[in-house]
Amino acid sequence: MHTISGVVKNQSNGETLIGANIYLADGVTGTITNEYGFYSLTLPSDSIEVTFSYLGLISVSHSLYLTVDTILNVELDDGLFIEEITVNANSNQEKVNSTQMGMDEITVKEAKEIAAIFGEVDVIKVLQLKPGVQSGSEGSSGLFIRGGGADQNHFILDEAPVYNPSHLFGFFSTFNADAIKNVKLYKAGFPSEFGGKLSSVIDIRMREGNRKKFNVTGGLGLISSRLTVEGPIVKDKGSFILSGRRTYVDVFTAAFNEGNKDNEDWVQIPNYSFYDINLKANYDLGDKDRLFLSGYFGRDVFLYKADDINFNFEWGNANATLRWNHIVSSKLFVNTSFTFSDYLYDINNTFDEFDLRLGSGIRDFNLKTDFSWFPSSKHKIKFGLNSIYHRFSVGRFSAGNGTNLNFEAGSEFHAGEFAAYFSDDWAISSKVKLLTGLRLSGFYNEGQFYWAAEPRFALKYSVHQNVSLKANYSRMAQYIHLVSTSGASLPTDVWYPSNERVKPQFSDLVSAGVSIALGKDFYISGEGYYKWMHNQIDFRDGANLIVNDELDKEFIFGKGYSYGGEIYLEKKNGMIRGWIGYTLSWTWREFELVNDGIPYHPRHDRRHDISIVVMWDIPWARKKFPLTLSATWVYGTGNATSLPTGRYIMSGIIGQNPYQFVPLYTERGSFRMPAYHRLDLGLVWKLFPQSKKRFKSDLTISVYNVYNRRNAFFMYIDAVYADGGNGFNSTQLPEKFEAKTVSLFPIIPTITWNFKW
């Protein structure tokens, strides 16, 4: 037996390719590249023809007689000047052959072809179009995966956890598509190297930068602009990429405010902006060693100044990763990473001479090492260690006027999280593969130590070369918890560690399904799942979550469970591409102190969820100006919500409005908002893509919510008064009550100009 190994790269920019296929002529024996473009395939001595392929790139085949261990590094051409790109069939084959299930992968190329709200390409919103993934509410980039909460998703950017992956109160994700190479979402079958959150892993890899030549790319959009600079540090030895993005709505609002500063009737418009910067550099220290340094810094800034009020609210993430890839041998690859993650929010409010400051945050230092060992063609073994130091700042609060009125509160916790893992993906026969894995995790805080054994199993049985049956089981543990009563991810939500009172959360997920490859074009999968979630956290009614040194006394504990099925049809190749996903699911929460202990549906419970995504390269468009049209239609059962079913009048001791009503909520989550559906259209118009000139550009036109549906953001009951007022401090009775929905986004057309030089 001998091993063929190496790294697969994109010839045009020298970047490594994640998930490139390496297959022999039989179409069955093969592997894929890992997150660093490395592959290893151990085969008997023989004459072989090995084909390297990657979606959208031209496949390359090599014939050789394998008599010794062989290093074969391959570069695949993007075929920019070739009219027809040979597409590969192996990506579907790999999905069928793999033990992995419950995984979705998207490329930025796909994301850029799909219409986006305000033209902001958002890889997370594309994930929301996959089955089993729900957005929390209209426009939100929050993810609710197979019944899990928004805080149960493990966002990793180049291996560094990102604790608040959104801008603008959740409407945009923090991930700038220009700096992203690849996104993988695991919603089941979690690899053993991942842990720490219950419901999903979103593994986001940044681009490495062009190793061949310098490039400048950018775009001008409706609300933001982007600019990316990349190039070789030393040609074919190392590269860098620097990418920035900033919104400019605040520039206009500041100008409006300035222009109206003498207008007494003018109500100041708050200034809001966000920006983020991605930086990455890499360098080959030799044939077997490669060093990476990557970083992210992003901030949202909300400013309001009027009369005596000066309100400044800032929040954001900072991440850094230092990685060392080392090829120990053709069969052993090791990656060692040191990462830094920081999330904080900070509110500074000055009113007259009172100052109020409120903030919270989490900071991590994380050291991990991961080994990939390919002892034979039948085994892929992974093992590694991980150690994290967490620092939690919870509810830092100070207020006062500097003289006789001053308060301070807040807590700080220092905790450690540890893990060791092992997994073996074993090809028992040509039909059966079994993945067994175990992750041992632990957590230490305030003298309390918790540990958990998290087994992972996955079984694949090939009924046919193109059809396989799969099943898996995963246990996940989560030691840190998001303090949020909103049901959505807000910047003011606080991460809180497990301690003596707050036990770790656990989930057990079983799923089973079928994968079918229909030729080189179509892939179909169907999965059913049941997930149990233990030690789920909610908060007692009326909990004080802002200034509270004993925050954990406000926690209540319960359980959750979710079950359902997903069907997915995908076509990645050809002139018409896209996918259709359908999810049928039920999600429940059960807390002794909520809803009288009766199970209820949380807000993100959604019975039916349909996504249809189509991308079409218009065949009759002129070659100088090729057009790609995309259409996205989504449908979802309305969110579960709670409404008061009864009311009574209350006078109060200070004689408030005598017609003030106290609403009575009887059952949690017993109402449904109207069904959600929306059509988005996008058009990417490339301008002279085949020109030999270096400068290239395109226009992207998108229309969000084409038929202008008023999708409900939330629902409430309103009192209608004869005088049209709101009844506050009124001594009149309302005429009637009526249920109303509030929508956020009507039809929104956007045009974005993108360029590359």
Binding site: G542, Y648, V662, Y665, M715, P746
Partner: protein
Amino acid sequence: MRFLIIIIAFLVALSCEDMETVIEIEMPPIEKELVIECYLEAGKPYRLMLTETKNYFDNLDECPFVRNAIVVITHAGQRDTLTEAIFFNDNCDPNDIIPYGFWPYLNHDSTRFFNYGSNTLCPHDFDNSFTVEVWDTTGRFAMSTTQFIPESPIEQFFSDSNNSGEYYALLSTMDDINTTDFYRFVLHKTSLTKKRSNGVASIPVARNPKFDRTLDDGGVFAGKEVTTASNYRFKSGDTLIGTIYHIDKTYHDYLESVGDAQSANASPFGQPAVVKSNIIGGQGIFAFLSYDRDTIVVP
């Protein structure tokens, strides 16, 4: 080009539409419960408002008051039956010349009104609890018990100015480190009632407190001075009335949960809150009001 402008204008017009939509929903009927709202004050007569819960979409003209009920307050073995206010008719019409057609019991310093009352003065008794019991003609029964707790004296009540000549007011009391305490701080300006310009009828200003906050002695206040302050909003010569109610946990929880329930309805991020009532078999609150009140004139 003109076509493009028309399209853009149309899309902008659509974008500026009202984003609220009235929808039809079906509400399951609730079981209608008695609602007791009764605050005891030492030296003041017993007063109680007795209503019932309604379905949220019930006709608002439907009478909320519970008629002909037996209402009894018991203290130290003494049962005092409250008398229903005088109803002139059975229409219970809020638009009647006399709203709801009855002459309510009123308290002296605000707009509070009641439909059951007694001339018995509430005793100043630390040792014995008070119990309210209500039977109505449909067989419903509700009851509750409360206890007198001593007032918490005002420690500081003053105003101070900034450079602009505007004043804030500070109100505080000392917390007892040996007990778990709850407070309600209220600040009024000028008076609890004032005369209309015609000098005849009084209009309430008590319903417009400058602040009305519930606080507990957890966190920053444990065993220390419990303090709250207004913004810089007063001028020299203003009369300020500060009141600190020393309240029990049930009343504190009731106030907090009512506030949460009211704000949850209108907030996209609010969680529905169950009103925490201390009425067994019904809704509402039965609480003892112990308070210290002071008046200052902004210098």
